[in-house]
């Protein structure tokens, strides 16, 4: 196993103009400071040392392979990314149209809609399938940005949480 850290003490002991570390070595902030003060260059491979991506350990690699194979409460494996959109607010003409238009704009496909109006207030639940590869974040932001205190509030949740909670 290679050296995992380079400390300030290592820099002082090396007493050289250049220190070459192996890929994946973590150089402590104090070592960087000591090297800068002493005019020592810390290199790794071809160029100056840059903080490597964290090596999470030998088990992490196998976990990455195994995690996707854990059984999911799932009956349609193609439905990778779906969202549940809920909206509540004061009822007015065109609310459903406004929300579904925004969903269409984000290339979402509405699978299920339910709406109820009680004493002038509407409550709406939509299940939406997102395009393969579409960003859930972008979808969520676009929809939730429609919320305004004077009109209605929209909330977007990943459908997976409902599957986990309500299906086995």
């Amino acid at each position: 196993m290679a050296r995992r850290f380079l400390t300030a003490e290592d820099v002082r002991r090396a007493n050289a103009a250049e220190i070459v570390v192996e890929e994946g070595t973590v150089v402590t902030p104090q070592a960087l400071e000591a090297a800068e003060q002493a005019g020592v260059a810390i290199r790794s491979g071809a160029g100056a040392w840059k903080e490597p991506a964290p090596d999470r350990g030998p088990d992490a690699q196998t976990t990455r392979q195994r995690l996707p194979h854990l059984p999911e409460p799932h009956d349609n494996p193609t439905l990778e990314s779906a969202a549940v959109v809920t909206a509540v607010g004061k009822n007015r003409p065109g609310v459903l149209a406004a929300i579904t238009a925004k969903i269409a704009e984000q290339k979402g496909n509405v699978n299920d809609v339910s709406q109820k109006v009680v004493e002038g207030y509407f409550h709406m639940i939509l299940t939406v399938e997102l395009e393969p590869g579409a960003s859930f974040d972008a979808f969520k932001t676009a929809l939730e940005c429609m919320s305004s205190p004077a009109d209605f509030a929209v909330r977007v949740m990943n459908e997976r949480i409902f599957r986990f909670m309500h299906r086995v």
Binding site: T7, P54, R56, L67, D75, I125, R167
Partner: protein
């Protein structure tokens, strides 16, 4: 897959009204490779490694919370017990490690880091001793570091020398943080049968046998269970009560399982365990005591409380076991007195005594947690309280812990405000009889017969 409106609204109600949340996502980081004969270099490595691995934790947790719409309240880090890492340095004072951990926690934006710890159930190494002796200084000089010491196990028995030393350390830690009501002790806990994958502070640490890095999740949700029992009403029989709790625990734990898988995937690490625990907060409705009262005791601490808690803990575990194949940590129900509005009420009303609380710990998942006692309680009495709690754990093959705060200058019945998650406590009376001779004997209480299972 389609869901009924009822199912969708149930999930949203749990999050919005019943304070369902993921209590903690805790990243465990092994520090074994940070040991160094030079103390300063060791601390540098500890800081660098924690920051290197912990940097993404808060961002990942927040992105998951946003995607799934479930709050992730705390992001924390647990590390290898510092006594094991500090041993190579031979230092007499290991508090520089605490400062390095504190600085690293601040750098990655988390509020607590656990692992200023040692295992001494059978005896002390030099480093264990150095670590324990430095606890008061380490906790007074840092804000985010939590310390846990293992004093007993079913396999080893109870190290009464360690209990005695720990009790003195508790008093000293309280004295050093006297101006804040002895708050240092809120970050200090001792264990019997400690679990190596506990994601909850103050006891979080990465024990032996854990991987290089691991992501553990602690779920919560007393509010969800409480509301379900409220809907069930007072006429349902106890089997129905257990079934209701189990179902709710299943749903809560499934959220933990999902978040654990997702956080591990996004961080590129191992998914460790889901700790299925009902962890109360001072917030209204987020109370374990109120669940016990809904099960049917007039006030927590009244006769029937221990049995109700046993039912609750067991049902929570059963629901959780079905929801995740990786149930671990402490899993059960927490009863931290100052952090639970219902418990505080019960102490105030005189319903919940220290003795009853001790009985309850025999069937809950942890132990005497966040209990305030008078500042002038002798160390020998604190040692007696700790030894009793350790004995419950050792004999029953369970984890027990003590987090006790001798509040400087306060007498039994007085109130102390710690604020935030730590809440408010009423100073409890440990009684006027002591255990001086027992304390003075020192030595070890041998492992019980039930430990010989080999």
């Amino acid at each position: 897959m389609s869901f009924s409106d009822r199912e969708i609204l149930e999930t949203i109600r749990m999050v919005e009204l019943e304070t369902l949340d993921i209590r903690t996502t805790t990243l465990g980081i092994s520090l074994f490779d940070c040991a160094d004969p030079d103390l300063e270099s060791a601390c540098e490595k500890v800081y660098a490694k924690v920051v290197h691995h912990g940097r993404d934790l808060v961002r990942v947790a927040e992105s998951i919370a946003a995607d799934y719409g479930v709050p992730i309240v705390n992001k924390r880090i647990a590390v290898t017990p510092i006594a094991w890492i500090g041993a190579a340095s031979g230092a007499e004072d290991l508090s520089p490690f605490a400062k390095a951990l504190d600085a690293a926690a601040a750098e990655v934006g988390i509020d607590f880091i656990g692992g200023y710890s040692a295992y001494v159930e059978k005896g002390f190494t030099r480093a264990d001793r150095a670590l324990i002796d430095s606890i008061p200084q380490a906790l007074a000089a840092t804000q985010r570091v939590c310390s846990s010491i293992v004093l007993a196990s079913t396999k080893a028995g109870i190290n009464m020398d360690a209990v005695a030393r720990f009790s003195a350390i508790v008093k000293e830690t309280a004295a050093r943080t006297a101006a804040q009501g002895g708050i240092g002790c809120a970050k200090l806990v001792c264990f019997a049968n400690a679990v190596a994958d506990n994601p909850f502070v103050a006891g979080a640490h990465m024990g032996i046998g854990e991987p290089e890095t691991v992501l553990n999740v602690g779920v919560s949700g007393p509010g969800v269970v409480r509301s379900a029992l409220q809907r069930l009403g007072p006429d349902a029989d106890l089997l129905a009560v257990a079934e209701t709790i189990k179902r709710m625990s299943f749903k809560i734990s499934r959220v933990g399982e999902l978040v654990g898988r997702e956080a591990a995937r996004r961080l590129g690490t191992v998914f460790g365990i889901v700790d299925v625990s009902l962890a109360p907060t001072p917030a209204a409705g987020d109370s374990v005591a109120e669940i016990l009262e809904l099960i049917g005791v007039e006030m927590t601490g009244a006769p029937g409380t221990t049995a109700a808690l046993a039912l609750l803990t067991d049902a929570v575990k059963k629901g959780g076991a079905m929801a995740s194949s990786s149930v671990g940590g402490l899993s059960g129900a927490f009863i931290p007195v100052s952090e639970d509005a219902g418990m505080i009420r019960a102490v105030e009303a005189g319903a919940l005594s220290l003795a009853k609380l001790e009985a309850m710990t025999a069937v809950c998942s942890v132990g005497l947690d966040m209990v305030a006692i008078p500042g002038d309680t002798p160390a020998s009495t604190i040692a007696g309280i700790i030894a009793d709690e350790m004995a419950i754990g050792v004999v029953n093959h369970k984890t027990t812990a003590v987090r006790i705060i001798p509040v400087p200058g306060k007498k039994a019945g007085e109130k102390v405000e710690w604020g935030g998650l730590l809440g408010t406590a009423i100073v409890q009376d440990p009684g006027r009889f002591g255990c001086e001779v027992f304390h003075r004997r020192s030595g070890r209480i041998p492992a019980p017969l039930q430990s010989y299972r080999n």
